[in-house]
Structure formats: C-alpha cells, structure tokens
Amino acid sequence: MPVKAVMRDDAIFVEEDYSRLEAMGYGVVVDDALRLDPVEALYLTYIGEITVYSNSNILDFESLVKILHSKDPLLWVKFTVYYDLRSRGRVVRPGVTDNSLLLYSSKKSTRAEIAIYVVEEAKIMKLRELVEWIRSARMQGRTTVLAVVDKHGDVTYYETSIIEPLKKVG
C-alpha cells in the first residue's frame, strides 16, 4: 500500500508512517513530517511507494512531472540519474547545488562520500564551473563524479579530479 504524501506550498511531505522511508534514505524530517525533495517524491510515486495528494486530489506521476518540471527545468535529468542509481540499489540523496546529487558508497555509510554533478547533452556548460564545483566538493572530502545524460536518456559517469601533472622522478 502506498503511503500518503501531501503537497503543501510546492513541497511534498509524508506526515504518517514515514520511518521506513526515512530509513531507506529518503527525505528529511521537519516538524514531525518527512519532507521529500521533488526528485525523491517523483521516484517514490513512480515505484508506487507513495501517493501524492494536493488538497484532496491525487497527483499521478504525469501531473507530478508537469508541476515539478515547471519549477525546476533540471528535474527530469536529475530524476534520470537518481533513478539509475536507485535501481542499482544505491542510496542517493539530493545534492548541495541545484544540479547535483549525493551518493553513499554503501548502505552502511553515514555520510555521502560521492558528489555527482548532473549535466545534459545540448545544455551547454562551462568547464570553469565544473572546476569550481569539483574544488568545493573535494574540499568537503567527497569524490566527485560527472554524470552526462545524453539525448536518449543514457547516463555516462566519470570520476573527475583536478590534477597537477607532475613527472615521476627516476
């Protein structure tokens, strides 16, 4: 049975029976409710774990995509990567910046060791921004990964780092 969730002021909350979802790495508890990120709400709706209500109407997956995408143009690409990682059994959370996600290297991890920068084909980017993002995520002690989503929805991952090429001596 899907758990009931409600959309309030553009955010989605699970107000009851959320401990199982919380334990599985979804959402953040705020004022005795589990607040879900749009990507998480979309995923949980997709796999049938929650049913989202707005007032007393049910928002199905399609309505939810429409509403959430209108507020965040990166939503679908992030969802693509989020889904890919969850379907591989990984625990993943929304990231610190708009276009990033956080990945736990194992189910036992208490901290996300890997930060993922999500980009999409045809959405031009500046490498300067990638360099800055790598720097700041590395400063927080995280491994940095670039996820490129192509026009077909396929995801390619690269571990990235800023290096100072030095020749080995001898």
Binding site: K126, R128, V131, T156, Y157, Y158, I162
Partner: protein
C-alpha cells in the same frame, strides 16, 4: 648545444641537417624524423619535421632559428601569428604544450588518438601508453557530450584522460582528469 637551423616550409619547419635533427629529437622527442616509423629510433638518418608549435617552443628556448626561403629570420612573433592563423585554438594549444614541456613531459601530437596531445613521461615507444590531453577554452561553453566523445576515444589507450582548461587572459591552466566510473 648549437642552435639548430630550421626552414619554414608552409606550416612546417624542417631541420635538414641530420646531426642537428638527431640532436633535437634526442633532447626531448621534438618533431618527427621524416619517413621514420619507429619513434624509439634515435639513430635515424633523416631530416626532422617540426610543427609550428614545437618550433615556437624551441625558438623561445634558444635551441632553434627559423629561416624563410629568402634566408631571412622568422621571429617568434611571426611563428606565433602563423599558429593563430592556421590552427583553431592555436594559442591555447601552445600554452598547454609549453606548460607540459616545462613540467618535463614529452608532449606530441595526439591526433591519432583523437586528442590534441599525447603526453609521455619518458618518450614515445618507451612509455606503455601516453596520457591524452584535450585542450578547451575555460570560458567557452561546451556540450557535455563532447566530454563523452573525448572519453570514448581516449579509453582505448588509458583509463584516464585529461582536459586542460585554459584561460587565455590570465594564462591559468587547470587539468581535469576523467576516469570511467561504474556506480
């Protein structure tokens, strides 16, 4: 070491004296011994063919003088202008080439690997495989799939490939290493 004499032929600089040619090549695998297929062979009897980028670097180092047909001197500024004229992102390529050389690496053309430079620690034919370096303007917008394309070609050579991002105004070069990641 004596200055080698190179002759500007189109967008190449030829060192015709075989002694000077071998000497430059041995010094850091500069250029391409004409008609010699094995890059490891340093005892060749052939002229040396230098790219404009290599020639500019060697002129700046004082190791080479470049002459044109009329035996007039071709200055480093003139070579620089030719590089800019003939090669897209020519100036950026030179900046990265120079930086890698100054760090002690052997940088050579990476075209056959689909990259701007193939970079060796010891030399072609000696290292197991070169690092492949792609040069990108740090202020220019790129399509993210260009990174995937660069990776596709490079992965056949090494697990890592490198994008050198260059800020032409400040001269700052950052090297980003990319390694295949399986989540």
């Amino acid at each position: 070491m004596d200055q080698a004499i190179g002759r500007l032929i189109g967008i190449k600089v030829l060192v015709l004296d075989k002694e000077a040619s071998r000497s430059l090549y041995r010094r850091g695998f500069y250029g391409k011994p004409f008609g010699i297929r094995k890059p490891k062979d340093i005892d060749f009897e052939a002229p040396l063919e230098l790219s404009l980028i290599e020639a500019l670097y060697l002129v700046e180092k004082g190791l080479l003088r470049v002459l044109n047909n009329e035996k007039g001197e071709v200055t480093d500024a003139q070579i620089r202008a030719l590089i800019k004229k003939y090669f897209r992102k020519g100036n950026l390529l030179y900046m990265v080439y120079k930086d890698l050389r100054e760090r002690g690496f052997i940088a050579r053309s990476g075209l056959k690997f689909g990259a701007d430079f193939a970079v060796y620690e010891l030399g072609p034919g000696i290292d197991h495989a070169p690092f492949l370096v792609h040069v990108v303007d740090s202020n220019k917008k790129i399509d993210p799939v260009d990174i995937v394309r660069a990776g596709r070609l490079s992965h056949s050579v090494r697990k890592k490939f490198i994008i050198a991002t260059v800020d032409e105004n400040t001269g700052s070069i950052k090297y980003i290493a990319f390694k295949w990641f399986k989540p």
